[in-house]
């Protein structure tokens, strides 16, 4: 059956599409174009003149060891956030799926953190892990562990991963739970009769049937870790100590608005755009093949 709507004239369809095109144009194509344009110049710190440098900004960046280190930091950070938030969410979803009594309360409580803004979440975790007054720091001190993420690079990374994953667990949990509940009960029962115990069932039936959800979350979480964790990093570590938590997005900000090197900052955002584009293509091309829809 033909479900497509066909228009007689040309103006009505243009009018209907216009708002979306306008939004995309103003908020994506225009700034992206500006970034690409700016990445070819070095402006003076007062913004009064710009000097054409061609691909000079890119050349400088790729030869810069700090920038290359930021790539590695970003990789560690986004993989950790994705793995931690998805693994915990899946575990909780499997538990919630088995729950009969009180499942409503359990779910609601698990969804709450999603409503907390990243910057607020960052401050929340910062308080708990504050090197002087933090509760967790104090307990760790009782156990004989001297927590200091201001000085220790690994601890700083751990803390921003934890804070970024926390709100994300809720989001992933919702999708995993919906995915689990979409698997017909009788399929699980058939597997149980066929002799598969819980873990075997999970490995051979549930996990493959959940793979579309997992794949979707993988893409969404990596994009999240790349772009939307700015608030958490800004409030907790400000990219430090040294450059230990300066992910690419944070470096765009730090170099552009703190360092006032707008040309380099623009070049970085162009590189970031390309990297995320490539990542998404790879994910859809290679990982999606193993997904059973």
């Amino acid at each position: 059956m033909e479900k497509r709507v066909t228009f007689k004239g040309i103006w009505l369809p243009i009018l209907l599409v216009a708002p979306q095109v306008a939004v995309t144009g103003v908020f994506f194509f225009f700034p992206a174009g500006q970034a690409i344009w700016q990445s070819l110049f070095i402006p003076d710190p007062f913004g009064l003149s710009m000097q054409w440098v061609g691909l000079g900004n890119f050349e400088y960046l790729l030869g810069n060891s700090f920038y290359r280190a930021s790539f590695l930091t970003t990789a560690i950070f986004s993989v950790s956030v994705t793995v931690v938030s998805m693994a915990i969410a899946l575990y909780l979803a499997v538990l919630a799926d088995r729950l009969i009594k009180g499942s409503g309360t359990y779910r609601t409580l698990l969804i709450w953190p999603y409503a907390v803004a990243p910057a607020v979440a960052g401050v929340l975790w910062l308080f708990m892990f504050n090197t002087r007054i933090g509760v967790v720091t104090w307990y760790l001190g009782q156990l004989g562990y001297d927590w200091n993420h201001v000085l220790n690079e690994a601890e700083a990374m751990g803390l921003v991963v934890l804070a970024s994953s926390w709100g994300r667990i809720s989001y992933n949990f919702l999708f995993f739970l919906a995915g689990l509940q979409a698997i017909p009960r009788s399929v699980i029962e058939a597997a149980a009769i066929d002799g598969a115990r819980f873990w075997t069932r999970f490995r051979t039936i549930v996990w493959p049937l959940l793979s579309p959800v997992t794949f979707f979350l993988l893409v969404v979480n990596i994009v999240y870790a790349f772009f939307e964790t700015f608030g958490v990093i800004h409030t907790i570590t400000g990219g430090g100590p040294q450059q230990a938590t300066t992910i690419l997005v944070y470096k765009v900000y730090a170099d552009g608005f703190v360092g006032q090197d707008l040309g380099s900052s623009a070049a970085q955002s162009v590189i970031l755009l390309v990297v995320v584009g490539i990542l998404t293509v790879i994910q859809f091309k290679y990982i999606e093949r193993k997904v059973h829809y």
Binding site: S186, E189, A190, A192, I193, D194, I205, P208
Partner: protein, 350 residues
């Protein structure tokens, strides 16, 4: 190959009791059909045998061993589900071989047994396909194949044909029966379709509201229904049941008509008359005002009522009737031995 014994099986959800004690001894190789309207507890009973529902009280014995608390996988059963419950991400061959793979049988043996089952079910060309690429009937066969490959002690069928169209259902019904005879595996089969029950069963359990109204062979249930419910549920169109007062061997209906019943009784009773046992007779006691006729070809159904009784009566006459009987009124008789008498209070056969 196994016997199955249910003794006083009860099921409650909280304080609500849904199954009120079922007892049956199932012989080796017997096909038992559990039949009843939706919500009567027939699927629950089957799922208790499968181990998918806990048994509140009573005993389940398979081959003499009490298996109330055994996991489904430890009961040596195979189940065919209403929606087939095939593993959507596996090929037909993997679906059928899954249980053997879990049991870590050698690859060669798995392939051999899957091949044998596929041959029996004419599924060989489809072994590499995914369930979604198969038709309803083929999926049904795969579900059967998955059960056969395991060579279980007991087959459990949970309304396996209700998702198929009418023609395919008749065909698969025969196939299931032939297959069960050939394999000789003890089977429990749940359905709400009385024709399926009549054609498949060695014995059937007629269930209503968690109670086994009657357990017996199909013809037993048809010829000597133990309760009004069993009488009306088995047989199509359903038996006419009218309230009456019994005076010896005569039951007097509300409008004063007396019908010879062949059963000695007194007091308030219910008279059951199967539509196909009523015969045309110009001098018969039953005068029917015919409201509507349904010509089905092989027989003709007449719907009408008796003077002074609101309840509708159905008569089934063999063959085609084009003449007078299609409209107006006609008289009928019924042989005394074809009348069933039930106690008006308990609904039990007299």
């Amino acid at each position: 190959m196994a016997t199955v014994t249910l003794t006083g099986i009860h099921k409650s959800y909280g304080k609500t009791e849904v199954i009120h004690g079922i007892d049956i001894d199932i012989a080796d190789g017997e096909l038992i059909v559990i039949v009843g309207p939706s919500g009567c507890g027939k699927s629950t009973l089957l799922r208790m045998v499968a181990g998918l529902e806990t048994i509140t009280s009573g005993d389940l014995l398979i081959d003499g061993a009490r298996l109330n608390d055994a996991e489904p996988m430890d009961r040596n059963i195979a189940m065919v589900f209403q929606n087939y419950a095939l593993y959507p991400h596996m090929s037909v061959a993997d679906n059928m071989g899954y249980a053997l793979k879990i049991a870590r049988r050698p690859k060669g043996e798995i392939a051999e047994r899957v091949q044998a089952a596929a041959k029996m079910l004419q599924l060989e060309p489809y072994l590499a396909r995914k369930p979604r690429e198969l038709s309803g009937g083929q999926r049904q066969r795969v579900a059967m194949g998955r059960a056969i490959v395991r060579d279980p002690a007991v087959f459990l069928f949970d309304e396996p044909l209700s998702n198929l169209d009418a023609k395919l259902r008749v065909q698969m019904r025969l196939e299931i029966k032939a297959l069960q005879r050939k394999l000789g595996v003890t089977s429990l089969y749940v359905t709400h379709d009385q024709v399926e029950a009549m054609t498949l069963a060695d014995r059937m359990i007629v269930m209503n509201a968690g109670v086994a109204e009657q357990i017996g062979t199909p013809l037993d249930v048809y010829e000597r229904p133990a309760t009004v419910f069993a009488a009306q549920f088995i047989g199509s169109p359903a038996m006419n049941v009218l309230p009456a007062r019994a005076e010896g061997r005569v039951a007097r209906l509300a409008n004063g008509i007396g019908i010879e019943t062949g059963t000695d009784a007194s007091g308030d009773v219910l008279v059951g008359m199967r539509p196909e046992h009523m015969e045309r007779d110009p001098d018969g006691p039953i005068a029917l005002d015919i409201r509507m006729a349904e010509p089905l070809g092989a027989n003709t159904l007449l719907h009408g009522s008796l003077a002074g009784i609101a309840q509708e009566i159905v008569v089934s006459l063999p063959g085609v009737h084009r003449e007078d009987v299609m409209a107006g009124s006609a008289r009928f008789r019924i042989a005394p031995e074809a009348c069933h008498l039930f106690d008006a209070g308990t609904g039990r056969r007299l």
